[in-house]
Symmetry: C3
Subunit: 352 residues, 3 copies
């Protein structure tokens, strides 16, 4: 038998980038530092890691910012990206074990993930909260199945529970503004919306603030509680850093002292499957829309992950204020992701 | 504060490529010349401008020829292209000011355009005439909003009123055939169709002929008048060049002397929103279909922007005639666009 | 007239890769050898052929594996790929001659194929069996029309009758496992499915086995006969090589001696247009599902082109067996396609 098949090295598991909670704050801080070096053009090492490599991205729900920023991160350093938009009809993937696959799913992740691993040097996966059950969303089953069966690194492009690339970009943006995020006062405030959106971004904002050593305040109306495990991890990191951790229903007070005001809407689990109830709740809390008066000081900054509905989530006067740094956040997605990709891809190889 | 955020240089507006009417004929002629040099492999300068750069293309309506020719123009010279197909559901963009965004649009162009400007070195935008109101289409509001908020050059990939890349490719193709377009007799003739199409291409054909110094005849049935401002600009350029400018309802006479016969169907504004009326009008003017007998001389050429419905818009005998140069026109899209991209991107930079 | 238009060299027809039946077994064997050299990193020549070249892929039905493996094959060697997903609505192409195009098709292949030939160095086309008439599917009219009007090489990305890239990858995979495929016992067995699929892959498996000099057994229930011309060609190749060729309705016997067990479902032409009848037939033959007990020896290998419905087409115990080499097959798509692309593109050119 004369086989030259590329085999999985038994026992060598690829490293993945799936969530903040899988890492320690100092590892995350090192990635932020690397991202800033890459942006400044001082990290040739990282650029070399991307050169000639192929990123395969699988989008289970559509994205433009994430896709563009990842493609640009690869292209800028001579790498390549393949984008697969998989809808319900195109490529329903089964991830449960032992199922008789006579339904919508034509392929199992046990085949799909290793096959993509043969074509690409790294795989990105974008999943979305089902928003039927908060407990089910917290499992992140689809993303975790990809990581289990892939033989190359898997990067979360946002999942049901976290958006770790966004969090790293946010941390980097705050560091840029304040020299260092550590010790600053960070407030995440809920805001109303036109329709319910998932908790991945607010979870990541909370974990980012805690990991970066910021004093963390979370403000939302009753019934909009975030995932308890995420909050517990954030509190643990705050405690360890000696920073404050507070959850409140008083938006005005939470904003009054914020140096970083991070705005994001999310749906309440008690209205999952009840669009009318959620709409009513948004209407009742319409006054949670953030405006210029919520910016506490002349040094405060306004953050949001985008896209943002103007005059519903945040008012024009705040978004058009020079303290609004949402475009910088978006740009830093590209640099933060370049740092993550370079870290996972490791040193360049003559032949991948 | 140690910020390395890439800032807009205040006061420095990016140059855009949105329309012929924003330029003078001599500027356009220089681009045609550059496109021919690039095609001949004699313009290393232009190729260098594209190398390593990223074009982001936003398609509000689908396209295959435009997309492929732009991607190929970037790839051929070592650049990259990111194609974003945005449908109604995916990414409805708001461009009006002060709106409460509780409808379909989830993002405002005030965020989208500057964010794309951070990922890409140049942005292409494809919009389409709404064909509800000719006056509204003439505003080209979506394209102009992109140009207003982008911090890098914006290229029209066809808009509601013009298709300037097509026009430049057409000019180049005529130059190739005749040595120079100047002084030649150019006839744009309307043709019937299976359904109404916009005026962007006929507008651009008219502007191209006038800017290139050709004698211009426009033939269409009553009720199919083109935009008055476009016609006024074309007439002004013809007057300045000392060439003829004529609009007629007599197709046979208009074709009889044409050295360049440019065929294109478009819908009548009087039937916007009235598909039945438009269909009847097409049927009544079915004899405007162009055939081989409309080619005046052995040197005449037949042009169309493609796609073309055979035996509805143009008959097989004309499209299969050796004087038909529609494939050359299509090829020259790639070279003309390379010239435009190189012109806007400017000299190469070590780091974009 | 000073034209520099790139002209078709009259009389020089581009070479295409459309099917196994257009080639002789020794030509195909040479491609398999080339693919293995490329995979082993020993064929710089082939890599050079791809560098800087553009592959344009037109998908008339969606694909993820084919698209990704072709994009990766181009990218790995410094080439580029443009993927065009054309649906019914987007870009219906007419390929019949003389038609009055007032229906769904807005463009004729007489324009589309030569235009794409100007943008790309090579064109890939993916079509699909209509599964209305086996005779009509056997014509492969759309693919053949592309090859007729293109002025650059055309590669089949699977058509109505064959999937020649899959076949070459399969041959390569068997060679890898057994040193050489020649003389081995190859069994293609039909399997049930959730819905009817085309015959392109089983046709190609049969042609692959015959061309590679294997002893070929085909097992399927009555009524599932493959195309007679394909079978005749396979028998001819087997006769010439002195290997066995057998068609049987006895799956157990066919599997009992197989060294290569190739599994694939396909629909019966007698149920084309009769989904209920086909579903009943699948149910009646549910026991044709392949399981671990169908693997004859410890050296036998299990193959399938993917995607595969677990526990419908093949049982978990067989797919999870170490003798299952479906992921290697999928990987080898990339290398086999690199060999095909390099062969058609020929030596590198300074300027394409």
């Amino acid at each position: 038998m004369t086989t030259v098949i590329k085999s999985k090295s038994p026992g060598v598991k690829p490293r993945h980038w799936l969530s903040f909670v899988d890492h320690e704050p100092n590892e995350l801080a090192a990635l932020v530092k690397s991202a800033r070096e890459i942006k400044a053009g001082r990290d040739q090492h990282a650029a070399d890691a991307i050169f000639g490599r192929i990123l395969g991205m699988v989008f289970f729900n559509p994205s433009l910012r994430t896709r563009t920023s990842f493609e640009a991160a690869m292209m800028r350093f001579g790498g390549h990206a393949i984008t697969l938009n998989v809808g319900g009809d195109t490529w329903n993937l089964e991830y449960r074990d032992g199922v008789v696959m006579n339904g919508a799913a034509a392929e199992h992740i046990r085949e799909a993930a290793p096959v993509l691993s043969r074509y690409c040097n790294i795989i990105g996966v974008r999943t979305f909260a089902g928003m039927k059950s908060a407990a089910e969303d917290a499992q992140d089953a689809l993303l975790r199945a990809f990581a289990r069966f892939a033989t190359v690194p898997v990067v979360s492009l946002e999942s049901a529970t976290e958006h770790p690339c966004q969090a790293l970009a946010d941390w980097m943006t705050i560091d840029e503004r304040f020299g260092s995020a550590a010790g600053r006062r960070f407030t995440l405030t809920w805001a109303p919306q036109a329709k319910a959106t998932p908790m991945a971004v607010p979870h990541s904002a909370v974990l980012c603030a805690a990991a970066a050593g910021m004093n963390l305040t979370i403000a939302h109306p009753p019934g909009y509680e975030l995932n308890a495990d995420v909050l517990a991890r954030a509190k643990q990191w705050c405690d360890r850093a000696g920073t404050e951790f507070m959850v409140t229903h008083d938006q005005a007070a939470a904003c009054a002292s914020a140096e970083v005001l991070y705005v994001k809407s999310w749906g309440s689990p008690q209205f999952y499957g009840d669009a009318d109830g959620q709409r009513d709740s948004f209407a009742r809390h319409a006054n949670w829309m953030v405006t210029q008066r919520n910016l506490a000081t002349s040094e405060s900054v306004l953050m949001h992950c985008l896209p943002v509905r103007r005059n519903v989530v945040i008012a024009d006067d705040a978004l058009d204020d020079s303290r609004c740094i949402v475009v910088d956040q978006a740009e830093n997605r590209m640099w933060a992701q370049a740092a993550i990709l370079a870290n996972l891809l490791g040193p360049p190889s003559g032949r991948s």
